[in-house]
């Protein structure tokens, strides 16, 4: 079994703090990490390898320092890693990123599964996984919470997807792109052997020249239909929380409920809905079933 895992290096947002005065991010000294969702993707690939034997290849597109993320993946147990790094890849939006990754996957070749995190925590789009699947012309299984079954002989996979209303069980063919949620597993920590190996392993850097056949015009900024035209910090909230204090918990609770009742949105949406039996109760939102 050959699984290719796509990972992204992102700033560690647990280290990011907000300057309370300006509302801007304090990024100084913020370390870079593997996108958290991607660690679950790596773990899932490693578990599949343990079950079926085979290998795990990790790919990342990014600046030269993204090599650190790949070394970490090797330390976790991945067999090999490839860094896609070239000025021609820079400034890519999700369409161009997916294109470049798909071209690399095509070149690596001979895979059963491509596994990605469901989204990156810096961009939060979740669009690259579907993009890769479409470029490769294979099925996509997104927001996967569990891989139920992989049948390499019959080229079949069954997964559980977490959707808003519950859990959807989907059967599909292989190869496929799977994007994973964080409830799929518990990623392992690198062990000593892995760390030693990760230090010595050679990580090839593929530039646009290596991806022969790839259209440079579809990579990087040139291949990106979207343009960021403005970036701003949302204004911090000025008002402070009203802290409700009273002699007893009951009184404080009563006071808080009183305050919430004074909030129009709560009165209408929350209370209104629950008071429908009262003839003069205010209706909540648009009345779906009431003809004019």
């Amino acid at each position: 079994m050959h699984a290719i895992v796509c990972i992204k290096q992102v700033p560690d947002t647990t280290e990011v703090k907000v300057n309370p005065e300006t509302g801007t991010l304090i990024r100084e000294g913020v370390p870079s990490i593997i996108n958290p969702f991607d660690t679950y993707a790596i773990e899932e690939a490693l578990r599949l390898r343990e079950k079926f034997s085979g290998r795990v290849t990790v790919v990342s597109m990014g600046p030269p320092q993204a090599e650190d993320a790949l070394r970490e993946a090797i330390a976790m147990g991945a067999d090999e890693a490839i860094l896609l790094s070239d000025r021609a890849f820079a400034g890519a939006d999700t369409l161009a990123t997916a294109y470049t990754l798909a071209e690399a996957i095509r070149r690596i070749g001979d895979y059963d599964l491509v596994i990605c995190g469901r989204q990156a925590i810096d961009g939060d789009t979740g669009q690259v996984g579907p993009g890769i699947a479409n470029r490769l012309g294979i099925p996509q299984l997104t927001y996967v919470s569990r891989i139920r079954q992989v049948d390499l002989e019959n080229k079949a996979i069954t997964v559980e997807r977490l959707v808003e209303e519950g859990c959807e069980v989907v059967a599909s063919t292989l190869p496929a792109v799977v994007t994973v949620n964080k409830d799929i597993n518990q990623p392992r920590y690198p062990d000593f052997k892995g760390v030693i190996r990760s230090r010595g392993v050679d990580i090839p850097v593929w530039d646009a020249g290596v991806l022969e056949g790839a259209d440079p015009a579809q990579c990087g900024l040139d291949g990106s239909p979207t343009r960021v035209v403005r970036v701003f910090t949302p204004p911090p909230r000025q008002e402070e929380a009203e802290i409700i204090e009273a002699d007893t918990v009951e009184k404080a609770a009563a006071l808080l409920v009183e305050r919430l009742l004074g909030e129009e949105v709560i009165r209408n949406q929350v209370f209104g809905k629950n008071l429908v039996s009262k003839p003069r109760g205010k209706s909540s939102g648009p009345a779906r079933d009431q003809p004019r």
Partner: protein
């Protein structure tokens, strides 16, 4: 890989760019001149800040021609579209929120609003779409579309877009909407902006200005798709107002056939499991959430009780999910769900930045925590400093009385 060019002769070392860079990619060097490192994403945030115009990015590729971008006749694309997400014949509220926003965009452009309704036995949903503001509904009603599957749904939408050529196409940022939009936009080779919280039409260029949170909501970015059509975006739940339903509205219903036959579809939905107490956090008007302060799985009992009294859903912080006290489906925050209820009651949640990213845009936030210094109080509208095991049951009791339950 940095694409940003800095003219060292012009730079005055004022550091205005260093301060605004969302990625911390800029700094001043030994000579007090701005330098950029490899983490630059070419987002352009710094450009307008430079007082001497010392910063530049490569120009976007000209429309058509160079850069291999296919020639697109932009004027051939007209109309605003939205996808009506339905589950078991019931349209989600996000669909009608989009109908309201789509109507606004169509009016601003002086064009029509079209709804795409896919499913089986969903003609009533098509009628609803008209009542909520659509001028036209493209209806594809077929057994192969009875449950959502990426490939047959994407194939239909791609075909319809290629036939009718809309200029704007919006979908909900739900799991299905994001799954589908990512597929359709890639097939159409057009731009897609995820999770928009604001959509407007630029009156001069008629382009769709798509604003979205990034970096856990700490920065906002406005994005354009200047040379590709349709301009595609997914929109967040509960951000745009639900329009009034008007049953007297008339609209056109156009039927189309599916593109893929069952034999061509690689995937099958073999089962659907609704867990007990399953919650749809995205649609919830009220969320009562528990954090580390609940102390263990049984600590969610008062949280559940209050949620039930309020007809709301149960949310959870990451640490409680990681500890195995409650399933992941409940997790609110950066690695869980982003929610925007009318009322969010945070119980025993300290308010880590990742949690705040997922809930700070709720209309009204109540924080209950023993630690008065907890960051959750910084985003809360109301707070009670106290033990959730006393406060939450007392609140449930008070609400029960008010609600005559």
């Amino acid at each position: 890989m940095a694409l940003l060019e800095i003219n060292r002769d012009e730079c005055t070392g004022c550091a205005a760019c260093v301060e605004v860079c969302p990625f911390g990619s800029l700094r001043l060097d030994d000579e007090d001149i701005a330098v950029v490192d490899e983490t630059c994403t070419a987002c352009g945030a710094c450009l307008p800040e430079c007082p001497v115009e010392a910063l530049s990015l490569p120009p976007p590729p000209a429309r058509g021609g160079e850069g291999g971008v296919e020639e697109v006749d932009l004027s051939a694309y007209q109309g605003v579209w939205f996808w009506v997400e339905q589950f078991q014949g019931q349209a989600g509220s996000i669909s009608w929120e989009m109908a309201g926003k789509g109507r606004e965009l169509a009016d601003a452009l002086g064009t029509t609003l079209t709804a795409c309704v896919l499913g089986q036995g969903v003609e009533h949903v098509a009628q609803e779409a008209i009542c909520y503001g659509a001028d036209r509904v493209l209806l594809v009603d077929d057994p192969t579309l009875s449950v959502y599957r990426t490939d047959p749904y994407a194939a239909v939408l791609v075909d319809l877009v290629q036939r009718y050529k809309p200029e704007v196409f919006i979908l909900g940022a739900s799991t299905r909407g994001r799954d589908l939009a990512g597929s359709v936009a890639t097939k159409l080779r057009t731009g897609l902006t995820a999770d928009c919280t604001e959509l407007t039409i630029d009156p001069e260029t008629r382009l769709l200005r798509q604003t979205r949170p990034a970096f856990g909501g700490n920065i906002m970015a406005t994005i354009l798709c200047p040379h590709h059509r349709p301009q595609m975006a997914t929109v967040r739940h509960r951000v745009f107002e639900m329009p009034q339903m008007d049953t007297s509205r008339q609209g056109q219903l156009v039927r189309h056939r599916p593109i893929m036959g069952e034999g061509e579809i690689a995937s099958k939905v073999v089962d659907f499991i609704v867990q007990e107490g399953q919650v749809n956090l995205a649609d919830a008007q009220v969320i009562v959430a528990g954090g580390r302060g609940v102390g263990g799985p049984e600590g969610f009992a008062p949280i559940r009780e209050l949620a039930e009294v309020l007809g709301g859903a149960v949310g959870a912080s990451r640490s409680t999910v990681d500890a195995g006290w409650i399933p992941y489906a409940h997790q609110v925050g950066q690695t869980g769900r982003t929610v925007r209820p009318d009322l969010y009651v945070a119980c025993g949640i300290s308010g880590a930045i990742q949690h705040l990213a997922g809930m700070k845009t709720a209309s009204c936030i109540v924080a209950i925590n023993t630690d008065p210094e907890a960051p959750i109080f910084q985003v809360a509208h109301y707070g009670i400093v106290g033990d959730l095991f006393q406060v939450v049951p007392a609140l449930a009791q008070q609400f029960r009385q008010r609600l005559h339950k």
